[in-house]
């Protein structure tokens, strides 16, 4: 492990040197200018030879050290970026393992089963997956039949049947076996989605965020004028009969361009991505990172985002003379052939609460009444009796058609359940209504507690769903979100978001289903759950691997903090430039006006050491600030004025004073080095 770490850092340094390759242009425009300057410094000795008179007054140690330290500042900038990228890579590797760390049953050649973990599996290995287990890797079914929940990959909530027949044999890693057991032969080492993550984190950082672009525009504007100034110092120095050597002008340019912030700029963005990755949030589009900080409205899709996606049986109500145990038994009989998650949840609920397992009924005794769009009911025929399950309006229609009796009790129970925001499912045997099952949305844990935090960040949460008013209201109340939009279609969702945007809101949409994809495209920032379908994930800016919608809080906080880090370093960098400027300018003009030395209140050794010290400081400050750039502090929602005062004091005043102290120190060291 130790050796590995050394190897890593060695690779990092080698990599950085590779990036220093003179033909490889830096990504930041200011660093491009520094890069050009660095290249010109290499030719200064040639200029020396050609125009013997001109620069030869400069001592060799001065010219060479200026050149070295300008290259060094480029090196440090690359180093910062590489370091950030490296951290990303390491983390995504970890994520790989974590995501795939599943215990599985390897089927050995001799028929025995050995417990192992998925990371030790190879292509071609056979594994047995039991009911309730997750299929670790992509593979092919070679034995057995099972219903598999593929919602994690496809977003489709209906379970599918997988067996060894052609067309049904492929299973995907990350999906769950709901019933029975199957034997699988591994076909892919990694599942597709995880490959995507690996891709993204190694690609690192591509697009620049808007703030970064604006900042670049401002800094480039400043630098442009500084370049004009540096060039046009030449005629005026001729006018004064002054000899400002080329290397001095280049040193001046390097010192007055805002290098610190530019050198660390991409590292800051990358570390933002990394910080999000650490929270199991994958940023698919780096432009999104800073947009996060602006958000003021978050729209949660209900199903699959706030709730678990599938409705679960939470209660049963017997009707008439039916006893509760009888009802439970009837429900089991009616649900045995029902492969939908609702059916499975009814079986699970009854097994857990009443101890009636479906295994005691022989499937052969049952004749399936399959669900169809026309009848809208399902169930089984058992001992010639029809056990059917259906929603209330279906039962009502059937019973009214046949003039069967609907007990009054039923109406009350159905109304009650509806008011609770749940769905009633009626169980009837032939023409007699036996009871009701309450199917309820289950809210994901930990959401309710976090809604106030979200609001304290100035973000308004809204629930949007296609469900009816009562269901939505109930969920909204339970979670603690005041606003909700119910009975909406995908078009209505898009309209709603557009409407909000026209009112000046910056809207984030969190969703998982395919039906939300238009809305996700319209929203300023789209976040999808990992359980959602692949298309939805591709559409969105950010994917949450934990399927926890309150992650938006971390996302927003990191976005805000990213802005603040960038802002602080900008102020620091500009303040630095002011200080360096006041040191280097008197040094440059020291020849023409000896009295200008009065401006040199630092009492530096000589103009040469002053200029060199400024360049050295300029280079060394970059690695010093890498930790600040990479470590994004947690965001604290304290008073803005207080926070800004702190930043201005620390980075502003500090940025002004630090160079004076640093350069004085370097000057002393340089003095000792050059004096024999």
């Amino acid at each position: 492990m130790r050796g590995n770490a050394t190897e890593n850092s060695l690779n990092l340094i080698i990599n950085t040197f590779v990036k220093l390759n003179p033909f490889k242009v830096p990504s930041n425009p200011i660093m491009v200018i520094i890069w050009i300057v660095a290249i010109i410094t290499l030719f200064v000795p040639i200029f020396d030879l050609l125009f013997n008179n001109y620069t030869s007054t400069d001592p060799v140690w001065f010219v060479s050290s200026i050149s070295i330290f300008i290259w060094l500042s480029l090196f440090f900038s690359n180093f910062a970026q590489n370091l950030a990228e490296k951290k990303n890579k390491l983390y995504s590797d970890k994520l790989h393992n974590l995501k795939n760390f599943i215990i599985c049953n390897k089927l050995l050649d001799n028929g025995e089963i050995e417990k192992t973990t998925n990371d030790k599996l190879e292509v071609g290995d056979k594994i047995v997956v039991y009911q309730g287990e997750i299929i670790p890797l992509d593979g092919k079914v070679i034995k057995g039949v099972a219903s598999v929940d593929e919602s994690a990959i496809t977003g489709e909530s209906a379970a599918v049947i997988r067996d060894n027949s052609k067309g049904k044999c492929n299973v995907k890693g990350g999906t769950k076996v709901l019933s029975n057991q199957i034997t699988i032969s591994i076909t892919h080492r990694y599942s597709k989605w995880n490959d995507d993550i690996a891709d993204i984190s190694t690609k690192g950082y591509k697009h620049k965020t808007e703030t970064e672009q604006i900042l670049n525009i401002i800094l480039i504007g400043m630098t442009f004028v500084f370049i004009v100034l540096t060039i046009f110092l030449f005629p005026i120095s001729v006018y004064f009969g002054l000899k400002i050597s080329l290397i001095t002008l280049l040193a001046l340019l390097v010192c007055i361009t805002p290098t610190t912030i530019s050198a660390l700029s991409s590292a800051i963005s990358i570390s933002g991505i990394q910080k999000l990755l650490k929270n199991n949030i994958v940023v698919l589009n780096s432009e999104a990172i800073e947009k996060i900080g602006y958000i003021d409205t978050v729209i949660f899709d209900k199903t699959g985002t706030i709730t678990k996606g599938d409705r679960m049986a939470t209660d049963i109500y017997p009707i008439g003379n039916t006893k509760i145990m009888e009802l439970a038994e009837y429900l089991v009989i009616a649900s045995i052939n029902d492969d939908t998650l609702e059916g499975v949840s009814i079986l699970g609920y009854i097994d857990k609460k009443y101890g009636i397992s479906h295994k005691q009924f022989q499937k052969k005794q049952l004749e399936k009444i399959p669900y169809s769009e026309e009848t809208r009911l399902s169930g089984n025929i058992y001992h010639k009796n029809k056990y059917i399950k259906a929603s209330f309006d279906v039962i009502k229609t059937i019973f009214k058609q046949n003039n069967w009796v609907i007990p009054n009790e039923l109406f009350n129970i159905v109304k009650d359940i509806g008011n609770q925001g749940a769905t009633p499912i009626i169980l009837a045997i032939d023409n007699e209504i036996k009871g009701v099952v309450k199917l309820q949305d289950v809210i994901k844990p930990g959401i309710k507690e976090r809604i106030p935090t979200l609001e304290s960040l100035g973000v308004k949460p809204i629930i949007i769903t296609g469900d009816n008013y009562y269901t939505t209201k109930n969920i909204a109340e339970e979670v603690g979100i005041q606003s909700f939009i119910c009975e909406s279609t995908p078009e209505k969702k898009v309209e709603f978001i557009k409407d909000l945007q026209e009112k000046g809101k910056i809207v984030a949409m969190i969703a998982d289903g395919k039906n939300d994809s238009p809305a996700l495209q319209v929203a300023d920032l789209s976040i999808s759950m990992d359980q959602g379908s692949a298309e939805v994930k591709e559409l969105s800016n950010i994917v949450d691997l934990d399927n926890n919608p309150t992650k938006i809080i971390e996302v927003i906080e990191i976005g805000k903090q990213l802005l603040i880090t960038r802002g602080s370093l900008t102020i620091f960098s500009l303040m630095n430039d002011i200080a360096k400027y006041f040191i280097i300018i008197p040094a440059i003009f020291a020849d023409v006006v000896p009295d200008i030395g009065k401006l040199d209140f630092m009492n530096l050794h000589s103009p040469y050491t002053a200029i060199l010290s400024a360049v050295v400081f300029n280079a060394l400050i970059i690695p010093l600030f890498i930790p600040i750039a990479l470590k994004i502090k947690p965001y604290t929602p304290e008073d803005v004025a207080k926070k800004l005062t702190k930043i201005l004091l620390f980075y502003g005043i500090g940025g002004l004073l630090l160079p004076f102290m640093g350069i004085k120190l370097i000057d002393i060291i340089v003095k000792f080095l050059i004096l024999p």
Binding site: E210, Q213, I214, L215, I217, I218, I220, G221, M222, F224, V225, F226, V228, L229, F232, L233, P235, I236, Y239, F240, G293, Y294, D296, L457, G458, Q501, E502, K503, G504, K505, I506, G559, K560, Q561, L562, L563, I564, R566, G567, S568, T570, I571, L574, D577, I578, Y581, I585, I588, F589, V592, V593, D595, I596, L599, Y635, V640, A641, K643, L644, L648
Partner: protein, 557 residues
Amino acid sequence: MHIIEIFLIFALLPFIAFFMGSYMHFILQEKHDSSPFLNLIDNAAIKVFRINRYQQQTCYEYLSSVIICNFAVFIALLFIILLQSITPFNPENIKSVDFLTALNITASYISSCNWQSYNGETELSYFTQTIGLTWASFIACATGICCFFAVMRGITNKNPVTPNVFGNYWLDLIRCIIFILLPLCIVLALILISQGVVQSIDKYVIAYTLEGDIQKIPLGLVATQEAIKLLGVNGGGIFSSNSAHPFENPNELTNLLHLLTMTAIPVGITYAYGLMSGNTRKGWVIFSIMLILIISNFSVIYFNEDSSTFNENTEFQSISHGNMEGKETRFGITMSSLYSSFSSAISGATNSTHDSFTPISQMALLINIVIGGIVFGGAGVGMLGMMVFILISVFLFSLMSGKNPNYLNKHLGKKEILILIIYTIIFQSIIIIGTTTSTFFFSNPEAGELEKATTVTRLLYAFASTTLNNGSSLENYNSGAFNFIFTLSILIGRFSLIICMFVISNIFAQKTLLDNTNNIIKTDNTIFIVILIFTIINSLLVFLPLLILGPIIQYFL
């Protein structure tokens, strides 16, 4: 006595800001239907000039109207100046000036810069001065005010569906001249006349001095030009010695009036800015930043002039201590320093010779100008220049507080910043390139360091003063080449700012208002003031080497 005057001026500024701001806002922003008197004149003006008062111009229509109007005035003024020898009211039979000088005068008057590269008494006739320059001054000032209001209308537009809210330039111009400039100028001119400012079209008076020499005393329609020179923040007087001339600025009372009237519109604009942006506090914040800058600037100048022992020329040895060279004894060091500080920040009118100031004072004057002419600045355009810095500070502010960069509840995007930066690049580059390359004209191997440094200071001042439309000067460079170069720098400086701000305003007009109190940046607190001042000072850095080669070397030698 002077101290009381100074306190009086600074104490009066907020009141002037309030009254002028409210009045300008009332005239240019209100529907006049409510006021029968204003409505009457309004309607008459509209009938005469055939303007549809309800027709709103788009941004570019407004901008092109500005340019068309200015171009028309430019051509007319150029002809008036060139045809001087055949126009009436020329009792002294003054000849026409050469073309390049005429071009320079024209450009400098229509852009409210008033870089006077001519000698008013000997080169221009009464007709040219009054019918040409006085009226051009009205148009120039009114254009500046109109542009500010139009830009603010665009930026504060509430409904992005209807972005054509820029008003009508012609209507704005007429209202501005009839309701704001004319009445105030008439009152001011009458007061000035009562104090002894000349208003005459007689021949120049011939006087016989005690020594027996003959002296020609020039006259002119001074009071009227003086009124618009001050109120319109133009700074171009009849006489070449400007407000130091006793016919322009005879006594301390008129001097006080000069100071108050030249600040009236610029300070008023800051309050109008507050009114337009929906929160007068914002206006007062900008006002106080400008006040801080100008008071610190004045203090530097005053203490340098007052404590100076810089009296090479013993002829001008003053009765008091300090540097009296180039200053009128009736104003003294204090009022001259204040006047100069105001002049370099605002209008360019001068009551003393800036060239005779101590180097550090000259640097302070220079800083007032190269900062972008934003400390109150010209009528309307000063505030437009300030908005460049406000927008950049808003971005830095938002970055540090982790918020969406927004200005007046609208998102601040990449394009706007790009345009602002282009403007700053333009004006800073012109000043740097102009100053440094012009030194070739003055290369003289025998000149000493001091002479060279003085030349650099003068050139820097000239380029800054023309590009940023201030108009004051250390040295009048009136050779043909300089006349031409300065014509260009005046026009580029003036119209690049106006065009850039209109483009930005148009972008803002099409933006939706943000609706979240948590993410909105408040630009009315102390921290914003600190960041804004930091941004302004940061923009000065680029001039530091030139300031060192100019005034600072002068100071050390």
